[in-house]
C-alpha cells in the first residue's frame, strides 16, 4: 500500500461556509517527490496541515475520509505520535522560530533534544543539516538577528534535522535567493532518493519540472489534474484556470500561435526550451548547458 494514502478527504475549517478540501484522493509512494501547485486559496496549505496532522487535531473543524501515513491513521493517532513521522515547514517561516533558544545551532538542535537524542549524535546531525542548507556560518548567531531568507533556511533546517519519513514543505524557498533556491531543490531531491517521501508546495515551475516526480494541481479544494510534471505544467487546463507557468512555457505557448514553436509539447525547463526553439532558429548553434550548476536535470 502507498506510504501516504488520502481517501475521500473532505475538510471544513470551523465557522466557514465551504470546505477547504473536497474529496481528495492522493497516494504517494515511499521516496517519491510530489509537488503541489495551485492559485491562492486553492487549499495547498490546508493539504499540508492534513498531512502533518494539524488538520484536524489542531484546527478542529469537520473532516471526513481517511488520512494514512506509514500505515497509521491520523484520526486514530495523537499529534505527538504523528509528528514523529511527519515534519512540516510552515508557509510563513517568520513565526517558526521556537523563541526558546539563543543561537541558531541550539534552535536547530531543539527538536532532537526534545526526543532525547544523545549529545554527540545531536551535534553531528545538526552540523550535517546546516551544511545541506548552507547556513554553517550562522551557527552562533541569534535566531532573531537574521535576514528573511536566513530565517527561512533555519526553519527548514530544523525540520530536515529530524529526518522525518514524510517531509511536507509549504513554499520552503519563498524568501530564498535564486541560486540558493535551486540548491535547496537539489538537496530535497537527494533526500527523496535516499528514501524520504516529500510533498512540496511551490510556484517555481522550472525547478518543479526538473526535480519532482509528480505534480498535483489543486484548485478550489479539489485536485484538478495530476501526473508527470512536463505534462501537467504545460496543460491548457492549468493555463485556463489561473495557474502560473514558467516563462519557457508561456513564451512557447505564444510562439506556437505565431508559428514560432514547432514541437507538439510545450517546454517547462531551459533545456526543453533550447531544444524546441533551436528548430525555429536553424542557423543558431545552441550553446551547451553550463556544467556543474544543476541545470541539466536529475
Amino acid at each position: 500500500m502507498a506510504f501516504v494514502n488520502l481517501q475521500n478527504v473532505t475538510y471544513q475549517y470551523p465557522l466557514t461556509k465551504t470546505p477547504a478540501l473536497q474529496n481528495i484522493n492522493l497516494q504517494v509512494d515511499e521516496g517519491e517527490f510530489v509537488a503541489v501547485v495551485g492559485p491562492n486559496g486553492a487549499g495547498k496549505s490546508t493539504l499540508c496541515y492534513a498531512l502533518a496532522g494539524f488538520v484536524p487535531h489542531f484546527f478542529k473543524g469537520e473532516i471526513s475520509g481517511t488520512i494514512e501515513v506509514a500505515g497509521k491513521e491520523s484520526s486514530k493517532s495523537t499529534l505527538d505520535e504523528w509528528v514523529l513521522n511527519v515534519g512540516l515547514a510552515f508557509q510563513n517561516p517568520f513565526n517558526q522560530i521556537s523563541g526558546a533558544k539563543y543561537t541558531v545551532f541550539e534552535e536547530i538542535a531543539f527538536g532532537l533534544e526534545n526526543i532525547g537524542v544523545p549529545r554527540e549524535e545531536m551535534k553531528s546531525r545538526v552540523e550535517d543539516a546546516m551544511a545541506l542548507t548552507g547556513i554553517r556560518d550562522l551557527a552562533d548567531r541569534s535566531p532573531y538577528s537574521l535576514s528573511g531568507g536566513q530565517q527561512q533556511r533555519v526553519a527548514l533546517t530544523s525540520i530536515l534535522v529530524m529526518r522525518p519519513r514524510l517531509l511536507v514543505l509549504d513554499e520552503p524557498t519563498s524568501q530564498m535567493d535564486p541560486i540558493g533556491t535551486r540548491e535547496v531543490f537539489g538537496t530535497i531531491r537527494k533526500m527523496a532518493e535516499d528514501g524520504m517521501t516529500v510533498v512540496l508546495v511551490e510556484h517555481k515551475m522550472e525547478w518543479i519540472a526538473q526535480f519532482a516526480d509528480r505534480v498535483v494541481a489543486l484548485k478550489d479544494g479539489s485536485i484538478l489534474l495530476e501526473g508527470k510534471p512536463g505534462e501537467v505544467l504545460t496543460s491548457d487546463l492549468l493555463a485556463e484556470n489561473g495557474f502560473g507557468s514558467s516563462r519557457y512555457t508561456s513564451t512557447a505557448r505564444e510562439a506556437k500561435k505565431r508559428g514560432l514553436w514547432r514541437k507538439e509539447n510545450l517546454p517547462v525547463t531551459l533545456d526543453e526550451a533550447v531544444e524546441g526553439f533551436a528548430l525555429t532558429l536553424p542557423f543558431s548553434s545552441p550553446k551547451g548547458a553550463p556544467r556543474g550548476r544543476g541545470e541539466s536535470g536529475k
Binding site: 491562492n40 486559496g41 528573511g148 533556511r153 535564486p178 540558493g180 514560432l260 532558429l281
Partner: protein
C-alpha cells in the same frame, strides 16, 4: 523626490557590519529593483530610507531631508515601506481600518483619504475583504493588505520588500499593475525581489547588492545578462535571458516581447 546615499555604513548591535560603504543616487520617478543573495543587506539598506535604522556613518538624503535629522513619523510623509514580513507591519482588527490608518495619520482631508483607500483596495483586489481581520487571511493576502496600506499613503517614494513572495499569477499581475500605476503618477518605486523574471519585466534599473556593497548598478538590460557576476551574489539571469543566451541571440533579451522579436 531624489534619494542620495553617500558612503553609508551600518553595523548591528551584535557587531555585524551589514552595510560596508554604499553610495547611490536614485532620481525622482525611477523604478529600481534591488536584488542579491540572502543576507546581502537589501532590507537593512532600505530601512535607512524611512528612519527605521540610523546610519553609523555616511548619509542618506530624502529630497532635502537628511534622515538623521527627521523622525520616522516625519519621514513617513515621504517614504512608504512595505515590510518583508507583513506581520511586523499589520496591527488593526480589520482590513479597512488597516488601510485607512496611514493616510488618516498623515492628516489628509476626508475625501482624499476615501479616494486613496478605495484605489489601494482596488489595486490589491481587497474590496471583498475590508471587514476581515488581517490575521484570518493567509500570509499571501496579508502581504496584499500590507501593500495596500502603504499605497494608500500616497508618498512620493514607495518601497516594496519582496512583494511577490508566495503570490499566484493573478496577484503577481496585480502587483505589477500597481507598480505601473505608481510609475505613471511619477512616484519612485524601489522593489527588493528574488523574483528575477518579475524584476526583468517591471524595472528599468537594477542594483545588485553583495555582502553589504553594491556589486552592479545599471540599466536592467545590461545588468541581467551578466550571469557570472550575478552568480557571485546567488542570482540567476531571468529565464528568457538565459534562453536567449543559450540560443546564441546577439542581444540580451529580458521579456517575452523582446524574445519573440529576436527570433522572428
Amino acid at each position: 523626490m531624489k534619494i542620495e546615499i553617500k558612503d553609508l555604513r551600518f553595523t548591528f548591535p551584535t557587531g555585524l557590519e551589514a552595510l560596508k560603504g554604499i553610495s547611490l543616487t536614485i532620481e525622482a520617478g525611477e523604478q529600481v529593483a534591488i536584488v542579491g543573495q540572502n543576507g546581502a543587506g537589501k532590507t537593512t539598506l532600505v530601512r535607512h530610507f524611512n528612519g527605521l535604522l540610523q546610519p553609523a556613518s555616511g548619509s542618506v538624503m530624502i529630497g532635502d531631508w537628511d534622515v538623521k535629522k527627521y523622525s520616522v513619523a516625519k519621514l513617513a510623509t515621504r517614504v512608504g515601506y512595505v515590510f518583508q514580513n507583513p506581520d511586523e507591519q499589520l496591527f488593526s482588527r480589520d482590513v479597512l481600518t488597516e488601510v485607512t490608518f496611514g493616510p488618516k495619520n498623515l492628516g489628509y482631508a476626508k475625501e482624499k483619504i476615501d479616494e486613496l483607500v478605495q484605489r489601494a483596495l482596488s489595486l490589491t483586489e481587497l474590496n471583498d475583504k475590508t471587514e476581515t481581520n488581517p490575521y484570518d487571511l493567509s500570509p499571501t493576502w496579508r502581504k496584499m493588505v500590507a501593500l495596500a496600506s502603504i499605497i494608500a499613503m500616497d508618498t512620493p517614494i514607495v518601497i516594496f520588500d519582496e512583494p511577490t513572495t508566495g503570490q499566484d499569477a493573478l496577484n503577481v499581475a496585480r502587483i505589477a499593475n500597481a507598480i505601473s500605476e505608481l510609475r505613471m503618477e511619477g512616484k519612485t518605486v524601489i522593489t527588493i525581489t528574488h523574483d528575477i523574471d518579475f524584476c526583468a519585466e517591471n524595472f528599468d534599473r537594477v542594483i545588485a547588492l553583495s555582502n553589504g556593497q553594491v556589486l552592479l548598478d545599471g540599466p536592467a538590460r545590461e545588468i541581467l545578462g551578466q550571469d557570472e557576476v550575478l552568480a557571485q551574489t546567488y542570482v540567476d539571469p531571468p529565464q528568457l535571458t538565459r534562453l536567449g543566451k543559450r540560443l546564441g541571440l546577439k542581444e540580451t533579451v529580458r521579456n517575452q516581447e523582446e524574445f519573440l522579436k529576436a527570433i522572428t
